[in-house]
Symmetry: C2
Subunit: 133 residues, 2 copies
């Protein structure tokens, strides 16, 4: 009894800081499949909770539910490839956001009404693609 036994969806959701229907939604898109009681009620044990926590982490990390599901349902080799792809995306985003920070700083200082007149501004015109995530 030191380790918590299986919880119902409400308590599990509370433990995760989300609402029950979110857990149902994740399940409906194939991310989770907690066991059911004989009467059909979902039952979340530590394993399921940890699975949900992992989903939370990856989601905060900017992965879509689809990407998370792919990660889960792939073999080692493919996992590594997917993770590498996500890391590459992540680094692209970081680079873009760092440039963004610079640009915002510049915007605060420059305030040129005509961006073409400002070399820094025009530099920015050339960068970027519309964010894959």
């Amino acid at each position: 009894m030191a380790t918590a036994q299986a919880m119902k969806i409400g308590d599990a959701a509370a433990a995760l800081g989300i609402e029950a229907h979110v857990l149902r939604h994740w399940e409906s898109v194939g991310l989770l499949a907690p066991p059911r009681s004989r009467s059909g009620h979902r039952s979340y044990d530590e394993h399921a909770l940890n699975h949900a926590r992992l989903i939370q982490i990856l989601q905060r990390a900017g992965l879509s539910l689809d990407q998370i599901r792919q990660l889960g349902s792939s073999a080692h080799e493919e996992r590594l490839a997917l993770i590498a792809a996500r890391r590459a995306e992540t680094r692209d985003r970081i680079a873009l956001l760092q440039a963004t920070d610079q640009f915002l700083a510049h915007l605060a200082a420059c305030s040129h009404p005509i961006i073409a007149e400002c070399p820094e501004c025009s530099d920015f015109t050339k960068k970027g693609d519309p964010m894959p995530g």
Copy 2:
């Protein structure tokens, strides 16, 4: 005639690398208001094009169209505050993404089926909020 005269929406869109209906959409939400020909056709001069380019930059920078509109329609003081707020957001996102990169690297190496057993994984459980943008 060295400088290009006003273009129609199709050419403007092509120059910006987007589609015409996107320009119409931006206009419909109050971001842009290019002059019209007598017959009602939109006319994009250099000024309007630069405005659109700025929108593109800010959008790539992660701002919503709403936030971009706010930036445009605010006085100096308020602008500075908004810019500062966006920079703060940006830096939060960068921090999260850097942590993300670490975590993905760890995921590739660790591959613990039970994240609770992994101190690095559990560390991650505690962080983050659901991304304001």
